[in-house]
Every structure is written in structure tokens, then in C-alpha cells.
Amino acid sequence: MSEAERSTGLAPQAEAATGSHQGSGHVARHPSPKEYVRIAIILAIITAAEVAIYYIEAIEGLLIPLLFLFALVKFALVVLWFMHLKFDSRTYARFFMMGLAGAITLFLIVLLTFRVFAR
């Protein structure tokens, strides 16, 4: 096993093909299968919590903020770990944030224009 292979855990051909050498000497290390399983377990637990709080009447007032918080955490976990944004070049993250910011802006403009929050 070469030094490069030991440092990234990739087969040399895969390392070249996945663009692990992301220019200017930056080496992206993707998570191990164990890390992926750990993230998936956390996602499953959060989803179970989301469904559970839906049925708890005592926290009805907190339901929407909690659901948004859980969704945000799940979203971040998938994007950062499964889509590798935490490990890859920042340029990809900037591209994605651009679309996400556009979608959120669109959402707010539509809802503010039609006074949905005032209902």
C-alpha cells in the first residue's frame, strides 16, 4: 500500500477518479463505512424523535420549532457527511449554498408577498 493510499484509504485508481487531490495539494478524506453507519443511526434516531413529538400533546407549542430544528440537523448531517461537503473543496459548498439561498429567498418573498405569516 502506497503512502497516498494509506492516508486516504482509497484505491489509487479511485483516488485519481474521485478527484481526492482537489488541486493546490488539498486531499479530501471521505468518512469510513463505520462513520457512515454512525451518521445513519443518528438520522434514524432524529426521525423517530420527530414522529414521537408529533404525538405528544404536552409540547404542542414547541412542535414547529422542534420539527424545524430536527429537519435542519438531518439536512446538515446528510449534506456534510453523505454528500461529503465537510471533506471536499469549499467551492462545491459555495455552489450549493447559492442554490439554497436562492430557494430560501424565493420562499420568503412568496410568503411575505401573500402575507402568509400574518394569517
Binding site: 485508481q13 485519481a16 477518479a17 488541486g23 453507519v37 429537519a71 438531518k74 453523505f82 442554490g99
Partner: protein
Amino acid sequence: MEIHAQESEHLATSTGLPNIKLAMWLFLASDCMLFGALISTYVLYRGASVVGPYPNDVFDIPYTSVSSFVLLASSLTMVLALAALQRGDVGRSRVWLLATALLGMTFVGGQVYEFTTFAHEELTLTTNLFSTSFYVLTGFHGTHVAIGILMLLTLLMFSFSGRLGPEKAETVEMVGLYWHFVDIVWIVIFTVIYLIPTGNPA
């Protein structure tokens, strides 16, 4: 030699990053806008229907929760397929790709069953504002999942014909990015459409 050629191919781009991956992220950013528009439309018409059935009459949260678990599980199998291929374990990557496609099919099958049930309860595309915005949003998402399944089956076909080795890991990563995007869209849909309660009009 081949490795060096591929590396220099990446470095030859003006960003030093693979163009295909940049293009995929740009596509996903544009798809964010599409789903942003569809989700905005659903929220805009939330509670505005004047005839039933209303969301509370038709939604089956335990059933949809299972679908959500299935899609989350498919994201795990997708990354495991990529990790296996990057390690050079083609056989295992094949198993995980197949598992991802099967989980995706289960999700789409579940959605078809859900739509059929709703239709039997007299909730069709043109029944009210809720049904129109709901079917268009979840239908677009389901179509994305179906396209993802076709991509996965194509990868499997390539794998069985010996054309999907570790050197093609980037291709699997691109399909994986698309698949995880479909998953994150569902995370938002599940919360905004299914879990946030909409009271029936008095």
C-alpha cells in the same frame, strides 16, 4: 500512467476541480430552486382549501414515517456502495447499489400506494388547493427518485459488464450526490407537509 493522465486531466481545469462534480453541484443548486418554488406554493395554499378532504383526513403519519426510514436507509447503502468501490471491492459495491435501488423502489411503491389510497378517498389532482399543491410537489419528488433508480440500475448494468471499477468511482459519487439530494428534499417535505399540522377549516 492512466492514473497520472486522469490526475492531470483534473488539474487541467481552471478550478483544479473535476468539472463533472462542479456541474452536478450546480445542477443540485438549481434543483433547490425548483423544490423551493414547489414547497413555497404548498405553504402558500396551506389551509386555504374550501372543500375536503383536508390533510388531516388523509395523512397516515406512521406509514409515511416508514417511507422516510426507507429513504434514509437508501442514503446509507449509497455511501457504502461508493466506499466499497473506492476500496476496490467491486462485488460489495454491487450489493450496496442493488440495495439502494431496491430501497428506492420500495419508497416509490409506497408513494404509488399512498396516492392510490388518497384517490379512493376522493382526493385527486383537481379536488382542492391542498391536493393540487401536494400531488405536484410529492409527484416531482417521486419522479426524481424514479430517475435516481434508473441511474442506479444503469450503474449496476455497467458493474455486471465489468465497466464499473474503482477508476469509475467518480461516476458513482455523482449518482450518489443526486440520490442524497433527493433524500434531503424528502427531509424537508416530511417535516413541512406531513408533520406540521394543518387544521381543518371550521
